[in-house]
Amino acid sequence: MILQHIADGLLSGAIVALGAIGLSFTMKILRFANFSHSELLTWGAYFAVIFFAVAAVIGGGYGTPIAPFSFGWPLLAALLVTAALTSLLAIALHHLVFARLNRMAGHMTMVFASFGVALLLRHLLVLIFGPAPLYYSSALQFAMLLPGGVRVMPDQVFLLGLTVVVVIALHLFLTRSRTGISMRAVAENPDLARVSGVDVGRIVMWVWIIGASCAAVAGVMYGLTVQLRPELGFSLLLPLFAAAILGGAGSLYGAVIGGLAVGLSENLSVMIIPTTYKPAVPFLMILLVLYFRPEGLFGERR
């Protein structure tokens, strides 16, 4: 029984981890808590709905599932296209809202503006797609039975593997490429990065692209393993913040470990508390981290 909870925790934690990466980076580099980040997950998921609809018209559609997964090759194309579209959305929001406010307003103004952006984005989706849940595919998927009596969905295992690939790719980007090293430099000391010759504006675009792409992948995978609702991202807002704060702003590994920790604690908590209280677990984690170690597990003390 406990093994099943651990497996479920890791699998749901992977989605939180992907979403928390972008939140953590924007918190560190743009220096504000972006409450609209969770809506990028939702938009990513709905961009994939459009992608599959267009693909159905052109031919191919959802594709033939590759056993044991519920999806075929078109899903990989959908991930790439939605990542690109969600990045464009994030960059547009940056230019329309956050960059303008950053020039003249304080940190708290940015936070409240992000609330507004979140509401706008969420209700635009209700307006376009309606409030009812959507599914990418009506195909039924059967759980795999792992040793120890643990049941998992193949799609969720794919998601966990995909998360590992994304994290390794980001690690290589941040430590090997000049753009990645510049990004870490901007996170630590933007002025020193500027006088070294780093175009901070370009780095900020990269932060949005990485954050939005990870969010889009998380959104599509959530839509695939659960269902699509306009509140998809909003329901993950608290877990995302818990993961980013637990890991420490700006830390890639912090966000991933934070995400897995949030997923595990949520799923393990139901063994001792009623399921109704499960959403309170990330909130409790935020309080504990802020009280005992405000910089998070991997964050730099300022």
Binding site: A185, N189, L192, R194, V195, G197
Partner: protein, 248 residues
């Protein structure tokens, strides 16, 4: 006469639009020259070099590097144009490795050239080479200053701006650093440094500017400024008998 590396005329600048720190400062630095800016706290010394580096907005006046006007150019483009700036505090990326700090210094160079320069820098400073994969945060004050200068030199800059390079260093480490700064101007580059330690700065520079309350007060050859008892008394708070290294 060759064109000055830096020509700044009538600079008016400040951190907010309604509070200017500099009220029309002019500074010139010739190739191969080390120029010191001294003056009391709050004179605007650091603001001046931040304005030249592009970190503080210049409201009036003009700045030219090697005869080309650069007023209002963003800091990252100035870096590519040959202006290097070493701030007083937080002058290295503590969370990055020593090698990554050098990568940042060469971020405007083509990749191949940057890699060659990193190896050159590591060969020049064996202390840095030994720790190339360690975080710069572990370095001592003097070692950080060395890394900061090595990072700034990656682009082979024309103009090197140093903000209080010897702050927090022992007298011996400070002397060593001044020796290193003298070596920087060999190839026709120029150094403009701000110093609290006025005597030491004047002893190790060619010319000096005394700044007070955001305007030029006195300028001249460093040894003449050092010898002038009146300047020492009025602007540096020094008495002729003051010992070496005493901060005004």
């Amino acid at each position: 006469m060759t064109a000055p590396v830096l020509q700044a005329e009538g600079i008016v600048a400040g951190y907010t639009a309604d509070l200017m720190i500099l009220h029309g400062v002019s500074v010139e630095v010739a190739p191969g020259e080390i120029v010191a800016i001294i003056g009391p706290n709050g004179a605007g010394k650091s603001t001046l070099i931040k304005a030249i580096a592009g970190l503080v907005k210049v409201s009036a006046g003009r700045i030219a590097i090697d005869g080309r006007e650069t007023t209002g150019t963003p800091a990252h483009l100035l870096a590519a144009a040959g202006v290097a700036y070493v701030p007083q505090t937080d002058n290295v990326f503590a969370t990055l490795s020593i090698e990554e700090n050098l990568v940042l210094g060469g971020v405007t160079l083509p990749g191949r050239q940057a890699r060659a320069r990193i190896e050159e820098a590591l060969a020049r400073y064996p202390m840095l080479a030994e720790r190339r994969r360690q975080k710069a945060g572990i370095l001592s004050g003097g070692q950080r200053q060395m890394l900061a200068i090595a990072r700034a030199l990656m682009t082979a800059p024309r103009l090197i701006l140093l903000d209080e390079p010897t702050a927090g260093l022992s007298p011996m480490a400070a002397e060593e650093l001044f020796g290193l700064i003298r070596g920087l101007v060999g190839g026709g580059a120029a150094v403009l440094m701000v110093e609290q330690n006025a005597r030491a700065a004047l002893r190790h520079s060619d010319r000096g500017y005394v700044l007070a309350e955001g305007v030029n007060r006195i300028e001249g050859a460093s040894d003449a400024l050092l010898a002038d008892a009146e300047i020492g008394a009025i602007f540096l708070g020094l008495r002729p008998a003051d010992s070496e290294g005493l901060r005004p």
